[in-house]
């Protein structure tokens, strides 16, 4: 089977990782729409700037703590 392109969140998340905030990404996950300290806050902030349904993930410095 042929390879397909993975979603690379490495560079997108990097500027926010120290802040440990939730991110609202656009649907294709190549742009940060909004940030927030809580899930509710990030969804509310995303609604203010975009009609797109956001993709939620938290920015952390080291994902290896969570991926075994």
């Amino acid at each position: 089977m042929s390879k397909i392109k993975e979603i690379n969140l490495t560079e997108l998340i990097k500027p926010y990782a120290k802040d440990n905030v939730w991110l609202a990404l656009n649907t294709i996950q190549n742009k940060v729409l909004a940030t927030g300290k809580t899930v509710k806050e990030v969804i509310d902030n995303a609604k203010k700037v975009s009609k797109e349904k956001p993709v939620i993930i938290k920015a952390v410095q080291n994902y290896s703590k969570y991926i075994f």
């Binding site: 390879k3 392109k5 969140l9 995303a46 991926i67």
Partner: protein
């Protein structure tokens, strides 16, 4: 349905930065999508309690559940049936919500979710595939 793998930056205990590739799926709720890792090692799906509140759950009204991880520390949580979409497919699965579960994404574990889908991993080709039974 085919989905691409997602890459993250991770740091090893020896300080080396590596790029990790994981099977991550965005599941659709009414107002947002949540990124979740498909976790073959998890018996149940788990999500942070604050996310449960956003989708309208009274967390402590669920069935109490003690989830134990690799470090053998039990995390108290509450199980609820949760509905979301993957593409056009409505999923209804048990999810444990915990205030102590501070993960940056959701975990899709074996119970219910793996009963709904055959899951094929094609890591070297950068994708995974879900197929309904």
């Amino acid at each position: 349905m085919k989905f691409p793998y997602t890459t993250f930056s991770s740091t090893t205990p020896f300080g080396r930065t590596i790029i990790d590739k994981v099977p991550m799926l965005k599941i659709e709720f009414k107002e947002f999508y949540l990124n979740c890792i498909i976790d073959t090692g998890a018996c149940v799906s788990m999500m942070p309690a604050e996310l449960g509140l956003v989708i309208g759950l009274n967390i402590k009204s669920g069935e109490p559940f003690l989830a134990t991880g690799l470090d053998n520390i039990a995390v108290s949580s509450y199980i609820h049936k949760v509905e979301f979409y993957i593409g056009k497919i409505l999923c209804k699965i048990e999810v444990a919500f915990s205030e102590k579960f501070k993960f940056p994404f959701g975990l899709l574990g074996r119970k219910d979710f793996f009963d709904m889908f055959k899951i094929h991993f094609y890591q070297s080709e950068n994708f995974f595939e879900l197929e309904t039974y």
